[in-house]
């Protein structure tokens, strides 16, 4: 079907204003939050209901048109970057929070609802939705589920998957699947719901989500430990975990990142130390006290220059908020920031951090590293300029070594950003031949015509 006919058919299904085809519109949906990727789609569709999504999918399936589902476009692995000739299905207008069920401790929302709005709605009902990706203020819950997003609290509270109770998914051919329930226990049939969590839009389009909520912690304490050596900071984290302490948050920022975040947030972060570790304990007041004391002790034993305690709730929130801006703030140092997302077993943190530094030096590329160290998830960020191809090549060479090293240490190429296109070349190394083959069969059975986000995750 030529694109004129496709657009005419789409306009018969939706209002004209929901089908965007002007070059000024296509240009702005040609990218997501990932560096270096840009591809114009054929058109952009803004559906407002599951029925509209189903109608669009059914048309795309019949005509074999590639469809790229998208939320806020804050992804960091190119998962929502269009493919040539594709229809971008942008769900941001399906943003209603449908229900907060305080008797069953669940929340149901359309896929385009903002993660922050969900956290706020839960809080307003005296409940807590813990997953808090860095992009929480703009990301959609559908995007979070499709990428199984993590966040700063992953260490203690887990990731998006741990909170998904039920999904409504529009399949490649337009059929609507409802899977899961509000039941805490539910083992009826295969775990279909789980297939779509982290499927990156390649197995179905998530249109509605039911989430588990929990009671909020009664108390909270935030500490900031300052280190003169990066490896001391990494070793502190490994020690805290080895002592069986699981705080809410153990975040790490290196010197370059601290400087950038401070330039933006002006909250008095120390610019003269090599690393800071942000530690947050939450829960029962007695447990918080005990954890905070123990973590401060470990930090001092590992050579922390100073351990500060946040004076107020407001200050603690400022620290966490500032930490979430780390990735974007690093763009102050270089025009192109290649953000990675490797994760290693926590006993290997110091070794991995040292290797990243060394790889950066060897290939003469600046690296800023920050991340959710408590769960082993690091974000080494290579600072380069896309307009200098030679430097870009060196950065990419360093990245390949970092991936290989992470896998060799028993880690993974992506902890929370997904594979998309950016990590696709490294996936076979990670999954092995059997894992790849099963993944291909799964994709073929759910999307036989290969129209859903083609070329993402797998080829």
């Amino acid at each position: 079907m030529d694109s004129q006919t496709l657009i005419a058919r789409l306009r018969s299904l939706l209002r004209d204003e929901q089908v965007l085809t002007e070059p000024e519109d296509l240009t702005v949906y040609a990218f997501d939050g990932t560096a270096l990727l840009n591809q114009l789609p054929a058109c952009v569709v803004l559906p407002e209901s599951t029925e509209q999504v189903a109608a669009v999918m059914s048309l795309a399936h019949e005509q074999g048109v590639p469809v790229v589902p998208r939320g806020a476009g804050s992804g960091l692995a190119g998962g929502s970057v269009p493919v040539a000739g594709s229809l971008v299905l942008c769900l941001v207008r399906m943003n209603r929070i449908l229900e907060v069920d305080a008797r069953n401790l669940t929340l149901t929302a359309e896929a385009g609802a903002l993660t922050q709005a969900i956290a706020d709605a839960a809080a307003a009902a005296g409940l807590f939705y813990p997953p808090d990706p860095g992009s929480i203020k703009i990301s959609t819950i559908g995007g979070n589920v499709a990428n199984n997003s993590g966040g700063l609290r992953g260490l203690k509270y887990g990731v998006t998957r741990d909170y998904v109770m039920a999904l409504e998914v529009v399949l490649a051919d337009g059929q609507v699947l409802e899977t899961g329930s509000k039941c805490v226990k539910d083992v009826a049939g295969f775990g279909l719901k789980d297939l779509f969590i982290g499927s990156e839009g390649a197995l179905g389009v998530i249109t509605r989500v039911t989430l588990k909520l929990i009671p909020p912690p009664a108390a909270k304490r935030t500490l900031l430990a300052l280190f003169d050596r990066m490896t001391d900071a990494a070793e502190t984290i490994s020690q805290i975990i080895a002592l069986k302490i699981i705080p809410c948050t153990l975040e790490f920022l290196d010197r370059a990142t601290i400087g950038c975040v401070e330039d933006y947030a002006h909250i008095g972060l120390p610019r003269d130390c090599e690393a800071v570790v942000l530690m947050e304990a939450d829960g029962h007041p007695a447990e918080v006290e005990e954890q905070a004391t123990a973590m401060a002790k470990v930090a001092r034993e590992q050579g922390a220059r100073e351990v500060r305690t946040a004076a107020s709730e407001e200050q603690a929130t400022q620290l966490a908020t500032a930490r979430r801006t780390a990735f974007s703030a690093l763009a102050r140092l270089a025009p192109t920031v290649l953000l990675e997302d490797i994760t290693v077993p926590r006993s290997e943190l110091a070794r991995m951090v040292a290797f990243i530094q060394e790889a950066g030096q060897r290939h003469r590329v600046r690296v800023g590293t920050f991340g959710h160290m408590g769960d082993g998830n690091l974000h080494p960020t290579f600072l380069t300029n896309e307009r200098q191809p030679e430097e870009l090549q060196r950065a990419e060479a360093a990245l390949r070594e970092v991936f290989a090293r992470a896998i060799a240490l028993g880690g993974t190429i992506t902890g929370e950003h997904g594979v998309g296109v950016a990590k696709k070349p490294f996936l076979p190394q990670q999954l092995g031949p059997v894992g790849m083959e099963i993944s291909r069969r799964l994709k073929a059975s759910l999307d036989p015509r290969g129209i859903l986000n083609p070329g993402k995750v797998l080829d």
Binding site: T27, G33, N38, Q39, G73, V83, V92, N95, S328
Partner: protein, 448 residues
């Protein structure tokens, strides 16, 4: 790879394109993370990426790269943008959206993308003539004052005469500010010239503003009074003009430069300790003169001196340690609306609140979204009335929930817009500049 690496780098600006001629690093600074989406009023309203800061910058870059033709749709998008700069406060990467926005609008004007005989006539008259000269503005002000005082306005508003006006004028009429009986310099001569301290702590110049002087001369007078109460000698250079922000934000950079030069000559910044602005919208542009005239060999240095001395009134008072008014005073409940260009453009957000809290008897009640644009946005309420009124109604709803009797707000455009909103919403609130509240408190002080 399914996606291709993007064309990198601008074409040489052979056609004189202001976008292609930009330092590419300014465009490249945006790494499209989307953190700005959460704070952009036009994105929230439309949920269309082109109406977001990230989208607008992507369009500018595509045009600079030669990947996208510059067309009317781009021009319309740039004029749909409020220019509120909330995105710059939200941007962790430090993108200079203000510069991108000004350049892009200037390029739109250079190419005449929105040109029509009517638009050209209005812009020629208003932007390039009226607002280039305070003499003309004062004549217009006197005429408007006559309209308002003679009963004509009453007839238009209450006796149904408004239906005789063409629809565009009928829409604008409620936005017309109430013109002051006397303009600032007359007030100064009558009441304040003698009050300048004999041995001042600081010698400061005050920018009177264009519309501010016509509609809020009393606010200027209150600013003078407050400065004098704090030991400042205030001078009002006679030859001063509009600051030029209206021109710069509407694509007339050359007019803006001409006004900047005239103001520098009028004030002689070398002779002053500070140049004070009391309108949130003027301050950031005045602080920008150094940048605006950087390529002018004759004025570049003086413009730098000027920029370093420009202070918002609240910023200045807090810096010099203003004197808190003595109590007790009558209780009042006040909510504070942040002028976008005071907050996002100058990062002056804590100081006005600090001043309000120092007033005895004043209870400051924060409204939700105090930092969200009210829809005034320079002349946006005239050019984009639909969006402007949506924002205004949203603002007034937040005001209503505070139960405040006064909205404190520190920008000419906002204050006119909020006056209009007060009437639309039928709210029993008054709109006052924080400095007016401070001046009132000084005047009402019990004897020491």
């Amino acid at each position: 790879m399914t996606a291709t690496a993007i064309a990198t780098g601008p074409r040489p600006a052979a056609d004189g394109s202001l976008l292609a001629g930009l330092d590419y690093a300014v465009l490249q600074q945006c790494m499209h993370c989307g953190m700005c989406l959460a704070v952009c009023p036009t994105y929230e309203e439309t949920l269309r990426e082109r109406s977001s800061p990230r989208g607008r910058i992507a369009l500018m870059r595509a045009i600079a790269d030669g990947r996208l033709a510059i067309r009317r749709a781009f021009a319309e998008e740039l004029y749909f943008c409020l220019g509120c700069l909330a995105c710059t406060s939200a941007c962790p990467a430090g993108v200079d959206y203000a510069t991108l926005f000004e350049r892009a609008r200037a390029e739109v004007e250079r190419r005449g993308l929105l040109d029509s005989p009517k638009r050209r006539a209005i812009r020629g008259l208003v932007v390039k003539r009226l607002f280039m000269s305070r003499r003309w503005l004062r004549r217009l002000g006197a005429a408007m004052r006559l309209y308002q005082q003679s009963g004509c306005q009453w007839l238009v508003r209450h006796a149904g005469l408004k239906y005789l006006l063409p629809p565009s004028l009928r829409r604008l009429e409620p936005l017309a500010p109430r013109i002051s009986r006397r303009f600032t310099e007359a007030l100064f001569r009558r009441l304040y010239a003698r009050r300048n301290p004999a041995r001042p702590r600081y010698r400061v110049g005050l920018l009177l503003g264009c519309v501010q002087d016509l509609a809020f001369a009393d606010t200027n007078a209150d600013t003078i009074y407050v400065l004098q109460e704090n030991g400042c000698e205030v001078v009002l250079p006679a030859q001063q003009e509009c600051c030029g922000s209206l021109h710069a934000h509407n694509g007339e950079l050359e007019c803006a430069r001409a006004l900047a030069r005239r103001n520098i000559d009028a004030f002689a910044p070398e002779t002053l300790d500070a140049i004070i602005s009391n309108a949130g919208g003027c301050g950031p542009h005045m602080k920008h003169y150094g940048h605006l005239l950087a390529d002018d060999p004759e004025y570049a240095e003086r413009a730098r001196v000027w920029s370093a001395k420009v202070k918002d009134i609240h910023e200045f008072l807090v810096e010099i340690g203003f004197r808190p008014p003595r109590g007790p005073q009558r209780p009042q409940r006040v909510t504070y609306h942040e002028s976008c260009h005071l907050n996002h453009g100058q990062h002056v957000s804590a100081q006005p609140r600090q001043i309000l809290r120092a007033i005895p008897g004043l209870e400051l009640v924060e409204m939700a979204e105090a930092d969200w644009c009210c829809g005034s946005a320079g002349i946006y309420n005239i050019t984009q009335p639909e969006m402007a009124m949506k924002l205004l109604d949203r603002k007034m709803e937040h005001v209503r929930r505070t139960g405040a009797e006064v909205i404190a707000s520190a920008n000419t455009g906002c204050n006119i817009q909020l006056e209009c909103g007060r009437e639309r919403a039928g709210l029993a609130v008054t709109v006052k500049h924080p400095i007016t509240l401070l001046a009132e408190a000084y005047r009402a002080e019990p004897p020491a």
